[in-house]
């Protein structure tokens, strides 16, 4: 039984995407894909140490560094989803009125409303830091809760406090414990969240199953793979959008 | 005796009515009927494994009979105002003095009263120099002496003693025997087992003789030693029995 190990992020695993597409790939090629879902930083570290054959994450700058250092062969765009800002339905900071993501963040900070940050250097956390700097704010204070946890745990926290939070739409749609939270801001192009896939460099780690790994990459960027991604829905909503035309 | 007199006995006699004791289908004691009368010195005799210790534990209320009943004069199953010295005394993992203090504290005596009683008891039993020693490191005889002292300090109306001098040297044995006679003179009831025939003769007013879990003689000591009716008892006194 052939298999490869893919180090990926919790957001893709938690959303159920892999459960949807991997059986199709296996049916086609006979290759089993074992997905280890970790924080983005940890997933890249796993690749760097040669413990995965493929990494599949969303943190563009870090991915490019990974390739530049020679740990990855090449980065391929696969798909994107987007981030949304969620918050208490009564929207104490008036985020709904903001006309951009940065303005939304400024409103939260301005009102001193609670904000739950993942604080784990994940792709989502990196995107959040980008939004704060775009808003010209250095978030600190009692209202800013750095949970140091995965997306799900952070949303669990945000639902309880309640607090605003930045989350990817995939996790949000499949998240069951929303409490008073709902989407209060979305649609700004800066909330675009691209996923890349990279084969771990067999020159660094000779045991990497380059052939099967490349087969997976080839398939996922192929027509069939892209369609598989597009056909994945949660509650009737498409979560991920193919980025290969 | 420096020991205060106990209040007049009210819990005696203790009556055993058709008492039996089975464990796991084995009958260890059967059909024992017996009254422990107030103020008497009863010596329980019998070969090893005859059931003497079981009988004392039944009387003392530590095990419950599986047939018949043990009942005190006041109707209780397990009366206070009794104490027992075990064949193999169990000492607490504390000092000698703390072992003496423990049952007194259980009875709710004040710290002061306890200190006085402990001091008196240590002195009475020659345990003064050992007061601060960990009780479990004492020699065999010292442990037995401590167990005796502890029982004495509880001022019981009935005192059960299971081979209480088996580890004692001859002079200690003599002193303990004298003390037991003294208690008896104060009205304390004594139930004792011993394999020391001389001791039995010296102490017994009544004798109960057990054989394989049955009570086959219960008579005044003078009669018993003059010539027991049961052949087993006769053989026992002659040292004839073989296991």
């Amino acid at each position: 039984q052939e298999f490869i190990i893919v180090a990926s992020t919790t957001s893709t695993e938690n959303s159920g995407l892999f459960g949807h597409i991997l059986p199709m790939f296996q049916a086609e090629t006979g290759i089993e894909v074992r997905v280890v879902s970790q924080g983005t930083g940890q997933a890249l570290e796993t690749g760097r140490r040669g413990d995965a054959d493929v990494v599949f994450v969303h943190a563009r700058a870090q991915e490019e560094a990974f390739v530049a250092e020679g740990y990855g062969v090449q980065r391929f765009d696969v798909m994107y989803n987007d981030f949304v800002i969620v918050g208490p339905a009564d929207d104490p900071a008036g985020v709904r009125a903001a006309d951009s993501a940065a303005a939304a963040m400024a409103a939260i900070a301005g009102a001193g409303a609670s904000f739950a940050s993942r604080g784990d250097d994940s792709g989502t956390h990196t995107a959040e830091k980008g939004l704060w700097s775009a808003a010209g704010i250095d978030p600190a204070g009692d209202w800013y809760l750095s949970t140091g946890s995965g997306m799900g745990a952070t949303l669990n926290t945000a639902a309880q406090v309640p607090a605003y939070a930045l989350t990817d739409r995939g996790t949000w749609l499949s998240f069951a414990n929303r409490g008073p939270l709902e989407i209060v801001a979305q649609g700004d192009p800066v909330l675009f969240n691209p996923y890349g896939i990279i084969l771990v460099n067999p020159d660094k780690h000779a045991h990497v199953k380059a052939e099967q790994g490349q087969a997976f990459i080839d398939w996922i960027v192929s027509e069939a793979g892209q369609q598989a991604i597009a056909s994945f829905t949660v509650a009737g909503e498409q979560l991920f959008f193919p980025s290969v035309q | 005796m420096t020991h205060p007199r106990p209040t007049s006995p009210t819990i005696l006699p203790l009556r055993l009515e058709g008492v039996g004791y089975d464990v796991a289908g084995k009958t260890l004691l059967s059909d024992i009927s017996l009254a422990v009368d107030p103020g008497r010195r009863l010596v329980v005799m019998g070969a090893n494994g005859a059931g003497k210790s079981l009988l004392l534990r039944l009387c003392h209320g530590l095990i419950a009979p599986t047939a018949g009943r043990c009942i005190w004069a006041d109707g209780s199953i397990r009366a206070h105002a009794q104490a027992m010295v075990f064949q193999r005394p169990i000492l607490l993992r504390r000092s000698v003095a703390a072992n003496l203090d423990y049952p007194l504290a259980l009875r709710g005596l004040s710290r002061q009263a306890r200190r006085a009683t402990v001091a008196r008891t240590l002195d009475r039993f020659g345990l003064g120099p050992l007061a601060d020693r960990p009780a479990r490191l004492l020699s065999g005889g010292e442990q037995q002496r401590l167990a005796l002292a502890r029982a004495w300090s509880m001022q019981p109306e009935v005192l059960f003693l299971d081979e209480p001098t088996s580890a004692l040297d001859p002079s200690a044995t003599r002193i303990i025997e004298e003390m037991l006679m003294g208690f008896s003179a104060e009205g304390i009831t004594i139930v004792l087992t011993t394999h020391n025939l001389g001791q039995a003769r010296r102490l017994a007013e009544d004798v109960a003789f057990l054989h394989r879990g049955r009570l086959i003689e219960h008579r005044p000591a003078a009669d018993f030693f003059a010539g027991p009716a049961a052949p087993e008892a006769r053989a026992f006194l002659a040292g004839d029995l073989i296991w």
Binding site: G41, Q42, G148, Q160 | L62, I90, R93
Partner: protein, 219 residues
């Protein structure tokens, strides 16, 4: 994390939460375990089995249960305890109580087998025997308490859920280690683990010293 002050704060919180949980678990678990060793009642075996099994209570489940209790929508929501150190203490207490109870029961049962008749003869009720047995078994009980302490100090699943791992507020050594791991900072994670173990080691050395001293005095 780099800042020493932050590290100190995290260490302080870890110690406070764990030691309080151990203290509470001992205050309840030692007498309860001893009572369970002594008591005879129908269903005693079942209670013992349940406590034994609860030694395997998954921290996440313990955390979730406490979370659902303390949640704003839960029965105790009004106490506003969620995401506070108090909630973490509660979750850890739930987690280690079965360990303290089961190990205490086991130790006390052995001593009770030896002491039962003598204590009853001396006039101790079963209730009154409990402190006696705990005291006489103190050296052997220490290992069980240390097992509970170890479990609490190493635990992350429950404190993460009810504490939220909020920086500067409910972040402990173990949740910090988990965070650094998910950031891929494996070296830092291991370093934090070593600091935690060093603390644990120190506490254990003190406990052992105290135990030896007690044993010496007790013979």
């Amino acid at each position: 994390m780099a800042a020493d002050a932050a590290l100190m704060q995290i260490i302080g919180l870890s110690l406070r939460v764990t030691l309080t949980a151990v203290l509470v678990a001992c205050a309840i678990g030692l007498p309860l375990g001893a009572a369970l060793a002594l008591a005879r009642f129908p269903g005693r075996g079942a209670v013992i089995v349940v406590f034994n099994a609860l030694m395997g209570l998954p921290p996440v489940v313990a955390g979730l249960v406490v979370y659902l209790m303390l949640s704003r929508s839960g029965p105790l929501g009004d106490l506003a305890l969620l995401f506070t150190p108090e909630a973490m203490i509660l979750a850890q207490t739930v987690l280690i109580l079965p360990i303290v109870v089961s190990l205490t029961r086991s130790v006390v049962e052995d001593i009770w087998a030896e002491y039962r008749e003598q204590l009853q003869s001396l006039g101790a009720s079963r209730l009154r025997a409990v402190p006696t047995l705990l005291w006489d078994g103190r050296v052997s009980l220490l290992t069980g308490v240390l097992a509970g302490f170890g479990r609490a100090s190493a635990e992350v699943g429950a404190v993460l859920i009810v504490g939220g791992n909020i920086a500067g507020h409910t972040r402990t050594m173990t949740t910090a280690i988990t965070l650094e791991t998910s950031r891929g900072n494996l070296g830092l994670a291991v370093a934090l683990g070593i600091i935690l173990l060093a603390l644990t080691l120190t506490l254990n050395a003190v406990a052992w010293g105290a135990g030896q001293w007690a044993r010496g005095r007790l013979g």
